[in-house]
C-alpha cells in the first residue's frame, strides 16, 4: 500500500469513529476507509465507493482486532491521482487508485464518495492539504 494520508491537523482529536473490520484484513494507518455493510470498513481501492474518513491506527492481518478507528475531522495531506487535478476549494472524491483522490461530482456526494475540500490546487500525482469532515 502507498499514498496514505498524512495528518496536518486534527480537530476534536480527529473525532475518531470506530468501525468493524475483518480480522484478516491489513489496513494501514492513513488509508482512506471505505464503508461496507454493516458499519464495516475496508481500504479504499476503487472509484464511487462510500468513504467515512482516514484510518487512525495500523491494523495487521490476523492480529485479532475486528475494529479500527477512523479520523473524521481534520486536515490531511493526500495524493491526487494521475489526471486527478483539482482546483482550490473543490470537493474531491476517492479515485480508482488506492488512497488517491480526484475531483468529485454530484453523484460522489450522494453516495458519500467525497473525501473533503482541497485547500490547495492539486496537480497530477501531487500531495496537497484536504479538509476532511465526515
Amino acid at each position: 500500500m502507498a499514498a496514505e494520508a498524512v495528518i496536518i491537523e486534527l480537530f476534536n482529536g480527529g473525532r475518531p469513529i470506530r468501525y468493524t473490520c475483518a480480522d484478516g484484513a491489513t489496513i494501514e494507518k492513513g488509508a482512506i476507509a471505505v464503508l461496507t455493510d454493516p458499519r464495516t470498513v475496508i481500504t479504499h481501492a476503487a472509484v464511487d465507493t462510500p468513504i467515512v474518513g482516514i484510518v487512525a491506527a495500523e491494523k495487521v492481518a490476523n492480529d485479532g482486532a475486528t475494529t479500527v478507528s477512523v479520523y473524521t475531522d481534520g486536515i490531511f495531506d493526500m495524493t491526487a491521482a494521475a489526471a486527478g487535478v483539482t482546483a482550490l476549494g473543490a470537493l474531491c472524491a476517492g479515485s480508482g487508485t488506492a488512497n488517491m483522490i480526484t475531483v468529485a461530482d454530484a453523484n460522489d456526494i450522494l453516495q458519500s464518495s467525497d473525501v473533503g475540500m482541497c485547500l490547495e490546487a492539486h496537480a497530477n500525482d501531487e500531495v496537497a492539504a484536504v479538509r476532511v469532515n465526515k
Binding site: R39, P50, V52, A106, I109, Q111
Partner: protein
C-alpha cells in the same frame, strides 16, 4: 408522534445547537428538526425541507420554553422509507415524520440531507445513520 431517532453514539456530546421553537408546540426527543424560519425549528413533516439535526430534549406544549437543542454530530438509529438504500447512500428527511429516504441532488442544495446510512436499509427498516450537520 412515533419513530423518533435513537442515539447509538454521540461525538462531542452530540454537538448540540440551540434553535428557537414555538412555545405551544410539542416536539419529542429524537424528532428530526426542520428549519422553518429565522433559526426556528418544527418537527419535520415536509419533503425537501432543510433539517438541522435531531431534537436533544423533550418540548412539551405551553411549558414556557421557546428554545430546543438539536444534536448535530452522532450516529442514530432512524427509520427508512420503503425501498432499499445501499450502504453509504445519503438520506434526507421526508414528508413522513422521523422517516428518511434516499437523497437526490435537490436535497443537497436545500439542506434536506440528514446523513449517510452505515448499513444497507431494506424496506421500512431502522438503520444506523451518521449525522454531521
Amino acid at each position: 408522534m412515533a419513530n423518533e431517532a435513537v442515539i447509538i453514539e454521540l461525538f462531542n456530546g452530540g454537538r448540540p445547537i440551540n434553535y428557537t421553537c414555538a412555545d405551544n408546540t410539542t416536539i419529542e426527543k429524537g424528532t428530526i428538526l426542520e428549519l422553518s424560519g429565522d433559526r426556528t425549528v418544527i418537527a419535520n413533516t415536509n419533503d425537501n425541507s432543510p433539517n438541522v439535526g435531531i431534537a436533544a430534549a423533550e418540548k412539551v406544549a405551553d411549558d414556557g420554553s421557546t428554545t430546543i437543542p438539536a444534536y448535530t454530530d452522532g450516529i442514530f438509529d432512524i427509520l427508512t422509507t420503503s425501498g432499499t438504500e445501499g450502504v453509504g447512500i445519503k438520506v434526507s428527511s421526508s414528508q413522513t415524520e422521523n422517516v428518511v429516504q434516499a437523497a437526490d441532488a435537490a436535497d443537497l442544495l436545500s439542506g434536506a440531507v440528514l446523513g449517510m446510512v452505515l448499513e444497507t436499509a431494506g424496506n421500512a427498516e431502522v438503520v444506523a445513520v451518521r449525522v454531521n450537520k
